[in-house]
């Protein structure tokens, strides 16, 4: 397993994409730090960018990586190694690379110009979202036999979770504005890993006070141990489910 991971990582780090992605993230972080001195403003701007970019890059990169490495995967399957290990080594290599890019790209500017708890949460959410969308991408890849189709599915999932879902939630909130909706919106937030990550970060900032009664309710929920536990657990499920399902499909797939 570790051997396979070593070769998978070696291959991924050689593809130059890792460096480009890290430099890009670092440039984004540096430019935002230059614009403002207020850490909470910095983390709000970084969050807005990260919440769009990280899932998109993860989804597209993981899908192309899977298809570009199909040869390597086929080669390994004819060797005396377990199928699940072949899959997991590829998966971990991608997640590790995406996470390291975020940690270095965002982390180094933070070391230079300071960080607060919201920025640390930002790093954690970035890593989690990378893992979630890599899972979606691998699932799309093992279910299809065509790279274009797999990228299409990954992108559709990204559009759904980043754009369409929010519209849907807003629609519900406006339609049922006369009813108490705190718990319902909380439930809806749990069904979207991107929103969940966003709320977790927003709760670290003071601006939650601007979000009215729902904001106060969220603040109370996410600052309690129980709330954090549930949110963390839900994010963990979002990470595990697609990856686990993709593994199951991979073990029964023909090459």
């Amino acid at each position: 397993m570790l051997k396979l991971l070593k070769y998978a990582l070696y291959d991924i780090l050689k593809s130059r994409f890792a460096i480009i992605y890290t430099v890009f993230l670092a440039l984004v972080a540096i430019s935002i730090y230059q614009v403002s001195d207020d850490l909470s403003k910095v983390s709000l701007s970084l969050m807005n960018i990260m919440i769009m970019i990280v899932p998109l890059i993860s989804a597209v990169f993981a899908t192309t990586h899977f298809y570009n490495n199909l040869e390597f995967i086929e080669l390994m399957l004819a060797q005396p190694v377990k199928r699940s290990q072949v899959f997991l080594s590829q998966l971990f290599a991608v997640i590790l690379m995406l996470s390291l890019s975020i940690l270095f790209g965002f982390g180094l500017p933070m070391l230079l110009w300071g960080a607060d708890s919201s920025l640390i949460t930002l790093l954690a959410v970035g890593v989690i979202l990378s893992a979630v969308f890599t899972g979606f991408a691998f699932l799309a890849s093992v279910l299809t036999r065509d790279k274009a189709k797999a990228i299409g599915i990954s992108l559709a999932l990204w559009i759904y979770f980043s754009l369409v879902y929010d519209g849907f939630v807003l629609y519900i909130i406006y339609s049922f504005a006369d009813y108490p909706l705190e718990k319902a919106t909380l439930g809806l937030v749990m069904l979207n890993p991107v929103d969940l990550g966003r709320i977790l970060m927003l709760m670290q900032l003071d601006i939650s006070a601007l979000m009215g009664y729902t904001g106060a309710f969220f603040q109370k929920f996410f600052s309690s141990n129980m709330g954090l536990f549930i949110a963390g657990g839900t994010l963990a499920l979002w990470m595990l489910f697609p990856n686990f399902f993709a593994l199951r499909v991979f073990r029964k797939r023909d090459f």
Binding site: K3, Y7, D11, K14, S15, N69, L70, E71, F72, E74, L75, M76, L77, A78, Q79, P80, V81, K82, R83, K252, D254, F255
Partner: protein, 247 residues
């Protein structure tokens, strides 16, 4: 050594293997023949565990291969089209493959030396020509001295010198008592390399016996006309079934 017990495999609606039964014994060399799309590669990939049959089982050395991976260390496989990581260098590929089978310490370097692969060990796989990739595949298949050799179109794309080197290597391994499966469309190669003919037609075994008895059956003295006759018979068989369906 390998027994295939009634495996079936469908790709979508197309049934590639139908209740396929066959066994391969140690010390023999098998020529696996059949028209394009008859299920040769699917059979080989099923034995390697890359394609999972819908039903039936495959035993290698008496053990079912389902859910097992250790049996693959006794198989050397040369694919029809070798596909390798493009960024990886030839030398790294070899050390990686050695790393995959740490328990094997004695390497068979015959083909590596004969094909002079050491000279290109710093080139990346993506820059190699098709024939050179085939040489690498061949060298990898023999590297670990496996008991079973599965060679899918081994001579396709190789230059005449390399073909002779590879053929004499296969002959030597055959004499050493290994089980060898070869698929090819080049009949002269098969006649040289094998003693047993398996003809697959539409996902079933149409003929399975020694080359001697194939010649006897078809009352031909040479291998190629014998195979040609066999192919004619398959066509007749097809036309009879065709008539039956319209009866």
């Amino acid at each position: 050594m390998i027994s295939v017990n009634g495996i079936s495999k469908k790709f979508g609606k197309q049934e590639v293997l139908k209740d396929f039964k066959l066994s391969f014994d140690t010390g023999n060399s098998y020529a696996i023949m059949g028209p394009n799309g008859s299920g040769k590669t699917t059979l080989i990939k099923s034995i390697l565990g890359m394609v999972l049959p819908d039903s039936g089982e495959i035993l290698v050395k008496g053990q079912s291969i389902k859910g097992s991976e250790s049996y693959r260390s006794s198989i050397g496989y040369m694919p029809q089209i070798g596909r390798y990581p493009q960024n990886m260098k030839v030398g790294q590929l070899f050390s990686m493959m050695k790393d995959m089978r740490p328990e094997i310490k004695n390497y068979d370097m015959d083909l590596v030396e004969a094909f002079e692969l050491n000279k290109i060990k710093d080139k990346s796989m993506g820059t190699l020509s098709g024939g050179t990739v085939q040489k690498v595949s061949a060298a990898l298949a023999f590297l670990f001295n496996p008991e079973i050799l599965i060679l899918d179109e081994p001579t396709a794309g190789l230059d005449p010198i390399a073909v002779e080197i590879l053929k004499s290597k296969i002959q030597r391994e055959r004499k050493a008592g290994k089980l060898i499966l070869v698929t090819s469309h080049i009949l002269s190669d098969l006649e040289e390399l094998t003693n047993h003919a398996v003809y697959i037609f539409e996902g079933k075994v149409f003929f399975n016996d020694t080359i001697e008895s194939l010649k006897e059956m078809t009352s031909e003295e040479k291998f190629s006309p014998a195979i040609a006759k066999l192919m004619q018979w398959t066509l007749k068989k097809k036309s009879t079934t065709y008539e039956l369906t319209h009866a």
